[in-house]
């Protein structure tokens, strides 16, 4: 059964879209990340224009992260204070990101920028995560491993404007979450991702937040960053397909519930190792595609549609 997507201006099989949303939702349920980093490339792969794919992913992300954040909020696992500081950085970042997106688009380099950003970021993260989860698995084998400290203090925490974050049991410079929020905001606008896959490791390893409050707080701030990206993309580039986003959401919600249940069957470090391999595979594919000779070196973009 085909459905016509009004902004993408194309017909697409509704079951393909539901399956796509479902698969990405499943992964996000298993790994606790948004899955946007897979959704955008998959949408581009089925023929949705780059711009519409990025903007509509941000729109579907609003729904997906509300759904996830509500569950964490009920368990009291959101540090609102930290979330708001991240958010201030996030708004500035997403505004700059949408502007950067429009600039790159005019230069004809948006596709390259999206692919390069994905390849570099996913490659780095995948390697780091794989190393960390391997170490964790090895540590479990060794009995009598020492208890970890609450969190590691690094020099970054000592920067000025120190703030207390009670829920996270932290007293660190506000510049740190602000710049993290900014960086993730830019990513969100340019890549159509929530940035959970950057935010979550950064919250754990750079900010030193307790693991329990990380996913909820990350989702909480993603809601607002994704919302601002959606509105800015709608105004600046007219690229948000709300029908596409809604169909993806329907599939995503079902997938996420199944994924969460499946995720409970696996151990944390195994899960992280699996996610790392998945992330590395996507990065390798993107990097490889950039180096092979394109079938046709020419490409075409129609203006003013």
């Amino acid at each position: 059964m085909d459905i016509y997507l009004p902004i993408a201006a194309m017909s697409q099989d509704v079951f393909v879209l539901l399956a796509l949303g479902g698969a990405v939702g499943f992964l996000s349920g298993v790994f606790g990340v948004g899955g946007g980093f897979l959704l955008t490339p998959l949408l581009i792969f089925i023929g949705v224009p780059h711009m519409v794919a990025v903007a509509s992913s941000a729109n579907q992300l609003v729904g997906a992260s509300v759904s996830g954040a509500v569950a964490h909020w009920r368990r009291g696992n959101i540090d609102f204070h930290m979330g708001i500081v991240l958010l201030i950085g996030g708004f500035a970042g997403s505004a700059s990101g949408v502007w950067l997106f429009a600039l790159l688009r005019r230069m004809g380099q948006i596709d390259l920028a999206i692919s390069l950003a994905y390849a570099l970021l996913l490659g780095t993260l995948g390697t780091l995560m794989l190393a960390e989860s391997t170490r964790a698995m090895l540590r479990l084998r060794r009995p009598g491993a020492g208890r970890r400290k609450l969190h590691q203090h690094i020099w970054l925490h000592g920067l000025p404007f120190k703030m207390r974050f009670r829920r996270s049991k932290l007293y660190i410079s506000a510049l740190l979450p602000l710049s993290l929020g900014f960086f993730v905001g830019v990513l969100s606008a340019v890549m159509g991702v929530g940035g959970g896959f950057v935010m979550v490791p950064a919250m754990i390893y750079i900010l030193g937040m307790p693991t329990a409050v990380v996913p909820g707080t990350s989702l909480f701030q993603i809601i607002f960053v994704a919302a601002s990206v959606t509105v800015l993309q709608a105004v600046e580039n007219g690229a948000v397909d709300a029908v596409l986003a809604l169909v993806l959401l329907v599939g995503g919600v079902i997938g996420a519930q199944l994924g969460t249940r499946f995720g409970m069957l696996l151990r944390g470090e195994q899960l992280r190792a699996l996610l790392a391999l998945l992330v590395l595979a996507v990065a390798a594919k993107l990097a490889f595609d950039l180096t092979i000779r394109p079938a046709d070196p020419f490409s075409l973009e129609t203006l003013g549609q």
Partner: protein
């Protein structure tokens, strides 16, 4: 179909009497609505001629600007390095003819009447580009559009009833651009155009999709805010059944 038959009867009546007009033709419908579930559309063209001859039909969509970019290898990576912006590019262009165009009329005649992909009049925004470069980018534009089935030239497909009556099915793909189209019909005899007619066609989104698109264009901010609100509401609703999980 009843409408088509009626039209055919009308043309049958008109053909012998209309000796003044060598060619009479019309579309069975001047409006194509793109609704949810649109997978392409067929529009039937009916016509009558005053005797044997070749028929050429040119379907042209609204003009747009289009950027053609060329990739080349920079430090091992393929990236866009050259670009050329064309103006007056038809968003859809199809030529149907009873025989191959070069058998029907000489190139100069085709240029005169703007018939065929080789005779698209495209302008460029950038100045100081060599004719070879422009030709190369122009070929690429036409090649890409052909692959998307938005540009086409087809020989045959005409159904003649005797030598004077014909009908032809114009097939539009699922991602046909919207806007005002023109359908030009030419009758060619002894390499000369002896009759011509132009018929308008309007392709537009209709129903809920058209309203969404129209709203998104005219009131982008409200649309963006609404898109966010709907997604957020959906996300919240979807978390309710799993509250106790």
């Amino acid at each position: 179909m009843r409408q088509a038959l009626l039209l055919l009867l009308l043309l049958l009546g008109a053909a012998p009497a209309g000796a003044a007009e060598p060619l009479v033709a019309d579309l069975t419908s001047h409006f194509v609505a793109i609704t949810t579930g649109f997978t392409g559309a067929n529009v039937v063209l009916f016509g009558a001629t005053d005797g044997p001859g070749d028929v050429i039909v040119v379907v042209r969509g609204p003009n747009r600007e289009a950027v053609v970019r060329r990739k080349s290898r920079v430090a091992g990576i393929w990236m866009n390095t050259h670009q050329l912006t064309f103006t007056g590019v038809p968003s859809y262009y199809a030529v149907y003819s009873t025989r191959p165009l070069d058998e029907i009329m000489p190139p100069a005649m085709r240029t005169l009447h703007d018939i065929g992909l080789a005779n698209l009049r495209l302008g460029t925004v950038e100045r100081n580009r060599s004719p070879q470069e422009i030709a190369e980018f122009r070929d690429a534009l036409i090649r890409q559009r052909r692959q998307e089935a938005l540009y086409a030239d087809a020989t045959g497909g005409f159904n003649f009833l005797g030598d004077q009556l014909f009908h032809l099915t114009l097939a539009f793909p699922a991602d046909v651009p919207t806007g005002n189209y023109t359908v030009q019909i030419f009758l060619v005899r002894n390499r000369q155009v002896v009759g011509g007619q132009t018929s308008p066609l309007y392709i537009s989104q209709a129903g809920i999709d058209a309203e969404v698109n129209d709203f998104a264009r005219r009131r982008a901010l409200s649309y963006g805010v609404l898109a966010v609100a709907v997604a957020a509401l959906f996300g919240w609703l979807s978390s309710l059944p799993f509250r106790h999980a």
